[in-house]
């Protein structure tokens, strides 16, 4: 069941992929919720399971090799129990999805107008004439000048920024109450990125959509998010309101990540590097603190045996207890490597 003001509730979601007859969890025991008119950012490096989380919500995984357990509630419906037909009536209609690479998300043989109208054809009872009007309205809304001409063009005739706008228009076509944006600006230039982020914000204030934004760019998070969940190796390691996360991050992973941004350093200074690498799916340490291997100078007794999320301030959750003993290099209290 959804609680009163939650749009989407994820509880104990675990998504596992089958590799050589055994299942390996790429997302493990994730619980999150999304409210109306909120931007929830999910941050992490590649391979931490953030995209898997997104595809699990909308059921875009390969059903043969993937096992999803846990509950995802939307409108008092458990999404993990739905069959394809039920999912099809939700996807595009109630939940919009913006893909990372706009060129491969668009059909190269279909005109832009037809692609946007496709969702409307399945989910609404609009006439062809009305659909055409709605398409032009959407293109206008996402800031494309000259919508009549663009609607008749093919994807290859548009620039990267324009294509991403078209993908956003498709996601918005049926006025979804949830929008999942998987790295919507990664492939774009900074000026276009700023425009797209502003656009998402404006559209959100008009329609009260809840947005789940998946990104690895902390700059983007600071620009647009209301709440942030940091993922590492398939788990949420820290969750906090955006102000809190940037001023008062606690988990060692979040702090190291913030510390490796070139912006936060003065010029010519060395950048902070996190030791080691993100473990691959098959070599994930399933017991104990998953980040412990990358901060070997923190004493083993600092970690919990079964790390849990602890609420240390209202709305601020941190996994494991190792943050209390963690110091970045050069800080008071050691942190020797």
């Amino acid at each position: 069941m959804n609680t009163a003001n939650d749009l989407l509730t994820i509880r104990n979601l675990t998504t596992s992929f089958r590799i050589k007859e055994t299942y390996h969890a790429a997302v493990e025991d994730v619980s999150l919720s999304l409210k109306k008119n909120e931007v929830l950012a999910i941050v992490g490096e590649s391979g931490c399971g953030k995209s898997t989380l997104a595809t699990s919500i909308v059921g875009l995984y390969n059903t043969v090799n993937t096992k999803v357990t846990g509950e995802i509630f939307y409108n008092n419906q458990n999404l993990t129990q739905l069959n394809d037909e039920q999912f099809n009536s939700l996807r595009g209609n109630h939940i919009g999805f913006i893909f990372q690479d706009p060129l491969s998300a668009l059909n190269p043989l279909m005109r832009i107008g037809e692609q946007i109208a496709e969702g409307l054809m399945y989910h609404t009872k609009l006439s062809k004439q009305q659909r055409q009007e709605r398409v032009l309205e959407l293109l206008n809304q996402v800031g494309i000048a000259n919508p009549e001409r663009v609607a008749r063009q093919f994807p290859h005739q548009l620039s990267g920024g324009m294509r991403q706008r078209v993908v956003i228009a498709i996601a918005l076509s049926c006025k979804p109450s949830i929008l999942i944006a998987d790295e919507p600006t990664t492939a774009l230039d900074v000026t276009i990125q700023a425009q797209i982020l502003d656009l998402l914000k404006v559209l959100q204030s008009e329609t009260e959509t809840g947005i789940i934004l998946i990104t690895h760019d902390l700059g983007v998070v600071a620009e647009i998010a209301d709440r942030v969940a940091v993922m590492y190796a398939g788990e949420v390691v820290e969750e906090a309101p955006v102000q809190e996360l940037f001023t008062n991050a606690k988990h060692p992973y979040t702090r190291s990540l913030l510390n490796s941004i070139p912006q936060t350093h003065s010029e010519n200074e060395r950048l902070e590097v996190i030791q080691g690498m993100v473990p691959s799916l098959m070599n994930l340490p399933r017991e104990g603190c998953r980040f412990s291997a990358r901060i070997p100078w923190v004493d083993a007794s600092a970690h919990e045996r079964k790390p849990q999320l602890h609420e240390i301030a209202p709305g601020h959750f941190v996994r494991c207890t190792c943050w209390k003993h963690f110091h970045l290099e050069g800080e008071e209290g050691g942190g020797t490597k």
Binding site: D189, V190, E223, I261, P262, E267, R270, V273
Partner: protein, 315 residues
């Protein structure tokens, strides 16, 4: 003293069409670029996609044919003369590619990938070659047991480091780095950038650092050139560009960089929108009737800005 000069570099692509497939127009990918490189410095080349920054890099190293203009390397004219295998220029200028995966032959082992530049440019015996390869791996912080592995067995950051190892194999004077970190994660990016700086201070290398990420460029570069439609909009030292941007295009680019401070985001959004409105309103003053950038004019010893003659008189 600069060891390498580029003067009025042009790369134009012909557009063919019409009945006889004649040249009907040209794409001005690089349109009159002039640069100088000094030893041990890092030069940043920034611009949006399609601005011609990668083409500039490729033209310098000889992967693109230069339409007109000259490249002088230690007093020698090396324009379009890359056929001689033993030329010092071939050896001294190396490149790191954006996509390290596709820049390595998938069927060669690490040892052969790293040996290729050595076999081309240095006459080493087998033992010397092997010793040098081990040194290279040590420079980029990898152990010797990777020698017999194939490129696909490495992660993105490791592959990029192998790319760097290959580029420094023959002790080059200059490395052209075309978006070396844009495909990497934040913490891996930090690793690679640190490596590049270490190698620079150790061997006195110069870099031409091509990137669209203004945060990374600010961290790495001493001199920065902003590029738009094949021409330089503004060049100067790091402080000239970031503290005192003059051209409206530079201002627009700088205002669009996301900042990691959520408290000031509304203010920044306001500034950004003001700059954008300003840009739409004023851009005709900064570009000529063909939408091109004006020639560069010096406003201080290091700082050059593109502007028209009329404006110049105003200053």
């Amino acid at each position: 003293m600069s060891f390498m000069q580029i003067s009025d570099l042009n790369v134009h692509y012909p557009i063919r069409g019409g009945f006889f497939n004649t040249v009907i127009d040209k794409v001005y990918a690089v349109d009159g670029v002039t640069m100088e490189f000094e030893k041990g410095k890092t030069y940043g080349l920034v611009g949006e996609s399609g601005s011609g920054k990668s083409t500039t890099g490729k033209a310098i190293i000889g992967l693109e044919k230069i339409t007109s203009g000259q490249i002088f390397y230690e007093g020698e004219n090396v324009t379009n003369q890359r056929r001689k295998r033993d030329s010092a220029y071939n050896k001294d200028i190396q490149m790191i590619f954006q996509d390290s995966h596709s820049s390595m032959n998938p069927r060669k082992r690490v040892i052969d990938i790293l040996a290729e530049p050595l076999r081309n440019f240095m006459k080493l015996s087998d033992q010397e070659e092997r010793k040098r390869i081990k040194e290279l791996l040590a420079i980029v912080g990898m152990s010797e047991d990777v020698l017999l592995k194939y490129p696909h067995e490495f992660s993105g950051g490791q592959k990029q480091r192998l790319g760097i190892a290959r580029a420094v194999a023959c002790n080059p004077k200059m490395i052209i780095a075309d978006e070396p970190v844009s495909a990497l994660d934040l913490s891996v990016q930090a690793q690679v950038l640190n490596f590049m700086k270490d190698i620079q201070s150790e061997f006195g290398l110069s870099y031409l650092f091509i990137s669209h990420d203004l945060g990374v460029v600010k961290h790495m570069c001493d001199h920065i050139a902003i590029m738009y439609k094949g021409r330089f909009v503004e060049t100067g030292t790091r402080n000239d560009i970031y503290m005192n941007p003059q051209h409206i295009y530079t201002k627009r680019l700088l205002s669009a960089i996301p900042n990691i401070d959520p408290e000031t985001r509304l203010e920044r959004k306001k500034t950004r929108q003001d700059v954008e409105v300003n840009y739409q309103k004023e851009q005709h003053k900064y570009y000529d009737e063909h939408g091109k950038v004006y020639p560069l004019k010096s406003i201080s010893d290091t700082h050059k800005v593109a502007m028209s003659d009329i404006e110049r008189e105003g200053i």
